[in-house]
């Protein structure tokens, strides 16, 4: 069950101040802000939405960690200029959050794994707003937030000119954690570790199509999935992450090396006709 409290005040500035006071009164709860902005990855201009931990827009969705068994209290503040409907994990319903207003929610009974708290209404859905909720995952852990879009469509979605993908959808923008270049060791998406480590990777597909990841050098075990529970326990080197799915995989490296991980729908390994960019990152495992 998710307990929901609503606040709605028409005047944006006053309201945000009240929201601030409201948030202060609930110190135990984490606050997520729905932000949206226009950004450029040279030379491509596009809009993106995300859940962030403050009002400053970051293309990478926030990742929150919780223990198993404890209720998860969250305050979600809509810092955008449109109403967003937020889909809560393990729920069939959504929570509407008006412009410049907040709701508080409590998530109960989430088992160990990764979940997506994502916007289901058009603007946030298509522009990739989806927080990563990790429950009961300890030790070495990483998170990948996948997103795809046709940059030319993003302003139309943002301006609510269109509300669905065209049936000829051909995205040319593929990101992991909001970026298209991951080959540097300090990239937020690069997995680092040592042989024999137990590494958990949370993968959330905040995009608009199914994606397929291929691991070089290693197999992983799927230990949890919101959309493909039948695949839990499968040991794979290539596997799909369905649209809006959240999944947890476990990697125990048996050998050292620098190995790519990439989308095997190879159009997703490109950006601005350059390769390898987009959904391509690295595993960097030491002896």
């Amino acid at each position: 069950m998710h307990q929901i409290t609503r606040n709605t005040i028409p005047i944006r500035a006053i309201l945000l101040f009240i929201v601030f006071l409201f948030n202060l009164s609930l110190k135990a709860a984490d606050t997520l802000y729905i932000n949206r902005d226009t950004l450029t990855i040279t030379p491509v201009l596009f809009q993106k939405a995300a859940f962030n931990l403050d009002t400053t827009f970051n293309a990478k969705n926030a990742v929150l960690d919780y223990a198993v068994g404890s209720p998860i209290d969250l305050i979600i503040t809509n810092n955008d200029t449109v109403t967003h409907a937020v889909r809560l994990p393990n729920s069939t319903g959504t929570v509407n959050i008006s412009e410049a207003s907040s709701v508080s929610i409590t998530l109960n009974n989430l088992q160990k794994g990764t979940y997506s708290l994502y916007v289901e209404s058009d603007v946030g859905y298509f522009l990739g707003a989806g927080a990563v909720i990790r429950v009961g995952i300890s030790g070495q852990k990483f998170a990948w937030d996948l997103w795809d879009q046709d940059p030319d469509l993003t302003s139309d979605f943002g301006n609510q000119v269109i509300s669905e993908l065209p049936n000829t959808y051909r995205p040319t923008l593929f990101t992991i954690n909001g970026v298209v270049d991951h080959m540097e060791p300090n990239s937020a998406s690069v997995i680092t570790g040592n042989v024999g480590d137990t590494i958990y990777i949370s993968i959330v597909n905040n995009g608009n199509m199914d994606h397929t990841l291929h691991f070089h050098g290693y197999h992983i075990e799927i230990i949890q999935s919101t959309h493909q529970p039948h695949s839990v326990g499968w040991i794979k080197d290539t596997f799909p992450i369905l649209t809006k799915e959240a999944m947890t995989v476990r990697l125990v490296p048996h050998q050292p090396g620098d190995f790519p991980v990439h989308n095997h729908n190879l159009v997703a390994t490109l950006f601005n006709n350059g390769y390898p960019r987009g959904m391509v990152t690295m595993l960097m495992i030491q002896e």
């Binding site: 199509m209 397929t212 070089h216 040991i235 794979k236 190995f259 729908n265």
Partner: protein, 390 residues
């Protein structure tokens, strides 16, 4: 059918008791193929180097490379093409040096070579493909199947996944405009598959003798299914087959799953065991979808024929007729060939040469008692018939 990819030429040298096996491959960019609609295209790919001529002919897909669990594999890649190529051993978890990715492993520049070496540590179905500018090179045809047989004879993984006949299906696709004019492909992000294949064949090509799944009611069919396309493939099995999913990506599943259809995403591989529940002639339908928008790209049907026993088979190619009887056979099989050839070959499903035979007055009686049970190809001068050893 020029399915002679099986061929005389899978040239594997067993160095030490069959445990270390060596293959000589060439990467080339001079393949030519006529599609099922008559369109002529070019493709790039891999071929087995002839020990006699030192040359290779490339095929689409590349030759099936098949080894036993525990084998040490040495593969010499001779890149005789004008561009750089590599081989990535997809799913085999080889070390970084042998991973076949130019910027992290080893580039194989045009006109140079590289020797890959690794151990087949897991049974299963794998892929190999070029990993240089992969969106282009894979689309141009630089891929093939890599199979590691199970620990037991005729098994996918072990004694619990034994088959009587096995078949491999490599699903792939092509953006034909790239293959018609390889010098002007792209932009790569706008790749648009418009031709879909099973083992390099499409449409009515799949009706040919070589591409039909034959079996008898008592068979357990082992299917290896792999997808190298950029879209997803949905395989629908005929209701006359009881199908169980047993493995994927070179790992046995923790629990078997009964299925009647299977979706395979790009780069995935699966193994199933299928038992006929009746005699039938039917199809395994393969639908190919663009992952970006779920639009159907095309469909291929793989013919399946389950009979009480296979009768005399024959195949005619360019006025030459090859006949084979009885089929199946357990002791001797008679080959008749209406042509000038004096020799023929027996190869297994992976293309490995099993034996040669001579034709005397257009006929040969071949002793097959030493062959393992299973399916083979008997080939004489381009004519090829699938033969079942009982």
């Amino acid at each position: 059918m020029k399915q002679i990819l099986t061929i005389w030429s899978l040239f594997i040298i067993c160095l030490v008791n069959g445990q270390t096996k060596e293959v000589f491959l060439q990467s080339k960019m001079d393949g030519e193929k006529t599609l099922s609609d008559g369109t002529d295209v070019q493709f790039w790919g891999y071929g087995i180097e002839s020990p006699i001529t030192g040359q290779a002919r490339i095929y689409l897909p590349g030759p099936i490379l098949r080894f036993d669990l525990g084998d040490t594999v040495i593969i010499h890649l001779d890149n005789v093409s004008p561009e750089d190529h590599t081989i990535h051993w997809h799913g085999l978890d080889v070390d970084q040096e042998n991973d076949g990715v130019g910027h992290t492993s080893q580039d194989v520049w045009a006109g140079t070579g590289f020797t890959y070496q690794f151990v087949c540590t897991h049974a299963g179905t794998f892929l190999y493909h070029c990993h240089v500018l992969t969106p282009l090179h894979l689309a141009m045809g630089m891929y093939g199947l890599f199979i590691v047989d199970g620990s037991e004879d005729n098994s996918l993984y072990d004694e619990t996944t034994v088959y009587t006949k096995d078949f491999s299906f490599l699903f792939s696709e092509m953006n034909t405009s790239w293959n018609i004019d390889p010098l002007n492909p792209g932009p790569f992000a706008l790749y648009e598959a418009d031709y879909v294949m099973v083992n390099g064949f499409a449409d009515e090509e799949l009706d040919s003798t070589d591409n039909i799944v034959y079996g008898i009611l008592e068979d357990t069919l082992g299917f290896r299914l792999a997808n190298t396309g950029y879209g997803k493939v949905k395989v629908t099995f005929p209701s006359e087959l009881d199908v169980v999913l047993v493995g994927s990506d070179g790992r046995k599943l923790p629990n078997t799953v009964s299925i009647n259809e299977l979706t395979i995403y790009p780069g995935e591989r699966f193994e199933v065991l299928a038992e006929p529940n009746t005699l039938f002639e039917g199809v395994m339908s393969v639908d190919y979808f663009d992952l970006r928008n779920n639009n159907l790209i095309g469909t291929n049907d793989v013919n399946i024929s389950i009979t009480s026993a296979l009768d005399i088979s024959d195949q005619t190619l360019e006025d030459q007729t090859l006949k084979l009887f009885p089929n199946p056979a357990s002791d001797f099989v008679t080959v008749e060939f209406d042509g000038l050839a004096k020799t023929g070959t027996i190869t297994d499903l992976s293309g490995r040469l099993v034996s040669n035979f001579n034709l005397t007055e257009n006929q040969s009686k071949i002793d097959v008692r030493n062959l393992k049970k299973g399916t083979y190809f008997i080939t004489v001068e381009g004519c090829s018939i699938k033969f079942v050893k009982d």
